[in-house]
């Protein structure tokens, strides 16, 4: 666990640092490989930046909206750089909505956009799990496995590393197998979703902390399973849908 990197008088929060690196690597991959998915890298980049900026702004607005009375007489803290004043769920919803609006306005095919986003998401997920490892959050259950790590008073499964490793494997698969223009748009994204959700369901078993339980069931696993169901249904549907004339033309 290494939550802070101290460089002289400067203290860098390691989790945020790793996340930023993941974001930059993801953006780079997205830029370089956008042509594989028959999308314009500039437009995708724009959608991503607008989505990110809206997510940050939305996360702050959503947080303030949740606790308006706390900000009375302290309006300046609305502009605080403290990341604890962000609502991640609200930010995610607003960011995704903004990116979706840009994509729709630019008349980019939604499925092709999601396909090109897989590389970005793969890098971001890997960095997210590594950032959790650095902060010590999302730690594993107690184990006597030889590869267990000593954390929070016990030897535990390094579950964040399992997830990060699988995120990188899935990213590698997308990089190697995605360059095929014969697949209908959306298949790469849906295959990415199915594999990501599958390893998340599997590895959440080894996680100690997390969302509350419903009758002993882990909410996270149930949510992942429902998303997996949706992804598989869409995958089966997309696989039998013949490509439109426009898609045929863009795929050359």
């Amino acid at each position: 666990m290494f939550p802070v990197i101290n460089i002289g008088p400067l203290s860098l929060p390691t989790p945020a640092f790793i996340l930023i690196i993941g974001y930059l690597v993801g953006s780079y991959l997205l830029d370089k490989k956008a042509s594989i998915f028959s999308t314009d890298s500039e437009l995708i980049d724009r959608a991503l930046w607008i989505g990110t900026a809206s997510a940050l702004l939305g996360a702050r607005i959503s947080y303030i909206a949740g606790f308006p009375t706390a900000f009375k007489g302290d309006l300046i803290s609305i502009f605080s750089l403290n990341p604890a004043l962000l609502d991640p769920v609200g930010g995610l919803i607003i960011g995704c909505s903004a990116a979706f609006l840009v994509v729709t306005k630019q008349k980019i095919d939604n499925w092709a956009f999601l396909d090109s986003l897989t590389l970005f998401l793969g890098a971001l997920f890997a960095s997210y799990f590594l950032s959790r490892f650095s902060s010590g959050d999302g730690y594993g259950i107690v184990t006597d496995c030889p590869w267990g790590i000593y954390l929070w008073g016990a030897v535990r499964h390094p579950v964040q590393l399992y997830k990060a490793a699988f995120a990188l494997i899935v990213l590698g698969f997308v990089l190697v197998f995605a360059p095929s223009k014969t697949k209908p748009p959306g298949i790469t994204f849906l295959l990415f979703s199915v594999s990501t959700l599958s390893y998340l369901i599997f590895f959440t078993h080894f996680q100690e902390s997390g969302l509350p339980l419903i009758s002993g069931f882990r909410i996270e696993q149930v949510m992942y399973w429902l998303l997996l169901l949706a992804a598989l249904l869409l995958l089966n549907f997309r696989s039998v849908t013949p490509p439109t004339k426009e898609q045929n033309e863009t795929q050359g």
Partner: protein, 184 residues
């Protein structure tokens, strides 16, 4: 080959979903059991490590003595600019929540500070909440303090609910966290 794979698509999807359901039920946990809440560690969900320290006026302050009351525990030093910047917010919160059970304590990392600087800072800024002195750095080590300021939000059962590394923390955030601790 492609037709063969296409024929397998639906059974394969069903198998993945069934395996997922099996694994979810296999991962089921006993309800209302949080084993971490009995172990001391400087992490959310665990018991906050206990300490006993003296303040500048030789008053003994221990975490166990505050059991039953929510605690905001800040680590700071007088040479640290964000620590100094957030102290007025902590003082304001201390005044606002004085009538409640909420306790605000700011442990000074005295092993990397000087008592005279601490004393001068407290007087200059009119700090009235308890400032215990961690002269040996043992409490900072127990709380894995890598960077100053760091603030722990501890519920009335002594369980850490939130950790904020860095600052300055605005008064609005202190109010939100304080209200959540008091409503738990």
């Amino acid at each position: 080959m492609k037709t063969y794979l296409n024929n397998l698509r639906i059974p394969l999807s069903a198998a993945i979903l069934a395996a997922g359901l099996f694994w979810i039920s296999f991962s089921r946990l006993p309800v209302d059991i949080n084993p971490d809440a009995t172990v001391e560690a400087a992490q959310v969900g665990f018991l906050a490590p206990d300490f006993n320290l003296s303040s500048l006026d030789s008053q003994e302050i221990g975490l166990l003595d505050l059991k039953g009351k929510p605690v905001i525990l800040n680590f700071w030093a007088s040479w640290c600019p964000p620590c100094k910047a957030e102290m007025p917010a902590f003082e304001q919160a201390f005044q606002e929540y004085q009538a409640t059970d909420l306790q605000i304590i700011a442990i000074n990392a005295t092993d990397q500070d000087s008592q005279s600087d601490v004393s001068r800072f407290i007087q200059q800024h009119g700090i009235t909440f308890p400032i215990p002195l961690d002269s040996t750095g043992s409490v900072s080590r127990d709380y894995l303090i890598h960077s100053l300021p760091t603030t722990y939000f501890i519920d009335k059962n002594g369980v850490i609910k939130e950790i904020i590394i860095g600052g300055p923390i605005p008064i609005s955030l202190l109010r939100i966290q304080a209200n959540q601790l008091l409503s738990d």
